[in-house]
């Protein structure tokens, strides 16, 4: 990544963090009512991976997918509108924070079923065999989804057909309320790829540039006909499973320690300063701008009309 690309990615990561934190505040105030599953700690994965994709590539994710949506370029106001139940939401308030899609940004959707998207991503990759698009489909899910049948089926299916799909597993330490390691009795998560016959690679999901490089290699391989790759990007979930998760299952002080040790935004900030890609003033300005943009988007969304009850039953069928 060039210096400017890295700084631009920093801005997107900060925007994601500001967006999630502001959404959580709005949820506490009742402006947002739907459930929120924050991606704090996952920012470098979505931003780094998306930076590795081309203009015809697709992304789909799970309900913890706001970072992917923002990385794909879906406007913040449309996202806030969706969360707030506004007619101007990305899906008119129909899906809420955990289930929306936006074809204009090649975001094929979040999914409330943790592993279901892996098969959908394989299908988007399947289409690329016929349409000449050269598309790579990136499908993201959490560590918990690796234990769901749909993911096994999708990986097997994609391997057999050598589909251009990149499976990105965001291993954030918890499958909902359960520690990841307690649900994986054998080996590392990425080892699972070997049984299907494609590469499984681990990457530090807190390292933007490492994620970009790893996903670039996987996407290039997929585009060249080499088939799928499983990228296991390790993150630290710096939030609850959802915003009203009391997190009593977490060891005392773990979240604060994780934030101190491995917050991907703090890490990237230090790297940018250390490498002289930007100075303190510029980063402070970026942070201030991102915060202001997020607040402006939320305010604009809140001023929009509520989703129209008269529309509820429209678009069930064509």
């Amino acid at each position: 990544m060039t210096g400017p690309e890295t700084v631009a990615a920093f801005r997107t990561m900060v925007t994601i963090r500001e967006f999630e934190n502001h959404a959580a505040q709005l949820r506490n105030r009742g402006v947002i009512v739907c459930s929120l599953h924050l991606a704090n700690g996952h920012e470098a994965i979505a931003v780094g991976a998306h930076a590795a994709l081309g203009s015809s590539d697709t992304v789909n994710a799970t309900y913890r997918g706001h970072h992917w949506a923002i990385a794909c370029g879906i406007p913040l106001e449309a996202l806030f509108g969706e969360f707030m139940g506004r007619a101007t939401g990305v899906n008119g308030g129909r899906g809420g924070a955990g289930f929306f899609a936006d074809p204009d940004h090649r975001f094929l959707g979040e999914n409330g079923i943790v592993g279901a998207g892996a098969a959908i991503g394989a299908g988007a990759a399947l289409a690329a065999r016929y349409d000449g698009s050269g598309r790579v489909a990136l499908t993201a899910f959490g560590d918990g989804a690796l234990n769901q049948g749909a993911v096994h089926e999708a990986m097997s299916f994609a391997a057999i057909l050598s589909l251009p799909v990149v499976f990105v597993c965001e291993n954030n330490g918890y499958a909902e309320y359960t520690p990841t390691e307690s649900m994986f009795p054998a080996g590392s998560l990425e080892d699972r790829a070997a049984i299907y016959g494609f590469p499984g690679v681990a990457v530090d999901g807190g390292d933007l540039r490492a994620v970009r490089e790893t996903v670039s290699e996987a996407a290039a391989r997929a585009r060249a006909g080499g088939g799928p790759t499983l990228v296991v990007a390790t993150a630290r979930r710096l939030a609850g499973h959802h915003t009203h998760d009391a997190e009593q299952y977490r060891p005392e002080g773990e979240k604060a320690r994780w934030a101190e040790e491995s917050d991907p935004i703090i890490r990237l900030r230090a790297a940018i300063l250390g490498e002289g890609l930007a100075d303190e003033d510029e980063l402070a300005r970026i942070e201030g701008d991102a915060r202001a943009d997020v607040r402006a988007a939320a305010d604009a969304a809140a001023a929009q009309p509520a989703s129209d009850p008269a529309q509820l039953e429209q678009h069930v069928y064509g």
Binding site: T58, N60, N91, G92, R94, G95, F99, F100, A101, D102, P103, D104, L108, G109, N111, G112, I113, A116, A118, A119, I120, G121, A122, G123, A124, A125, L126, A127, R129, Y130, D131, S133, R135, A137, G149, A150, E153, A154, S156, F157, I160, L161, Q311, Q314, H315, V316, Y317, G318
Partner: protein
């Protein structure tokens, strides 16, 4: 018009050929559909003609349905086979939580133009995991279209309609009638995926029958004709969307309603027809609605048990007589 006599199986095959020619974006995949041509032979010859647009998959119903969904979101028109309707449950998530929601969720900005072919029904001792009739469960999911062709002409026309439709559609074939012969119109325009048909005109009672039960109801109508009861038989063809208007017009004339299906009784499609009759057709009726269905138990293997689990013409005729007598006694559910 180019009519030809063919079997239900070959009518489906002809529809697939025509659709693959008409829509280059059509793909056909599923378990054993390419080289073997499908365990029931419906997809024979497609792989030879259309190459890699027809392919075999692993035994992975979730992946089949999920990949169909994903491909449909980016311009393909997949037609997938789920070998037995019972197997839908393994991957049903992709239809219920996935495909059914796409158009609605995105306010029409995205669609999922995929077709699922499957087959169901109780015969040849297939037992509880290879006999279930699943239509009502699918009809409970807004966003899915559900059709049940009862004859070769409809097998051809309805499968073409499903493939051309931009919504996810499930065409439920009946295994017992793959060899049934009839005429298809190979050049007819592609229909909309909707619409019932009155398959026998009659004045005295309306018999709404699904899938294989259409043939059973027609035989019952012949038995009843000998007794002077003139039954009208309506084949809904598509259960979702359901053509209530055709049924209502029939009961407005006949004043009696019998519903026949091979699926179990409770929450079966007959319950929906009866509810619509009570809500919208109450004043047309001169007596209670009668349902003739499979009993509320899993489908058995033993031939002696299987025989009583499936309505036959005699049972339908008895049901019609009850309806004519205004009897709500439904102890004889089968």
């Amino acid at each position: 018009m180019s009519t030809a006599e063919t079997t239900y199986r070959d009518a489906l095959n002809a529809a697939l050929h025509r659709a693959m020619h008409a829509h280059p974006e059509t793909l056909v995949f599923g378990e054993d559909v390419a080289a073997p041509g499908g365990v029931f032979g419906v997809t024979r010859g497609l792989a030879d003609e259309f190459g890699d647009r027809v392919f075999d998959t692993p035994i992975s119903e979730n992946a089949i349905l999920g990949a169909a969904l994903g491909a449909s979101l980016v311009g393909r028109r997949p037609v997938v086979e789920i070998m037995w309707a019972d197997f839908l449950f393994v991957g049903l998530d992709q239809l219920v939580n996935g495909a059914a929601n796409v158009r609605w969720l995105t306010e029409g900005r995205m669609t999922a133009p995929l077709t699922v072919r499957t087959q169901q029904g109780a015969l040849t001792s297939s037992s509880a995991q290879h006999s279930r009739c699943v239509e009502a469960m699918l009809c409970h999911v807004p966003g899915l279209k559900v059709g049940m062709p009862s004859n070769p002409a409809d097998a051809y026309a309805m499968l073409l309609a499903a493939i051309a439709d931009d919504d996810p559609a499930i065409v439920i074939e009946h295994r017992a009638i793959y060899d049934q012969r009839g005429e298809i119109d190979a050049d007819a325009p592609v229909e909309a995926a909707a619409g019932a048909r009155v398959v026998r005109q009659g004045a005295d009672v309306t018999v709404v029958a699904l899938s294989r039960m259409v043939g059973v109801a027609l035989r019952a109508a012949e038995l009843l004709a000998a007794e002077g009861i003139d039954a009208e038989v309506v084949d809904p063809r598509w259960l979702s969307p359901f053509d209530w208007a055709t049924v209502e017009a029939s009961i407005a004339k006949s004043t009696r309603l019998v519903v026949v299906h091979e699926a179990v009784r409770t929450c079966g499609f007959g319950a929906e027809v009866a509810a619509l009759a009570a809500e919208r057709g109450f004043w047309h009726l001169d007596g209670p609605v009668v349902r003739i269905t499979a009993p509320d138990c899993p489908k058995p293997s033993a031939p002696s048990l299987e025989a009583v689990a499936i309505p036959d013409a005699e049972r339908v005729a008895r049901g019609v007589r009850r309806a004519m007598a205004g009897s709500s006694d439904d102890q004889e559910s089968t």
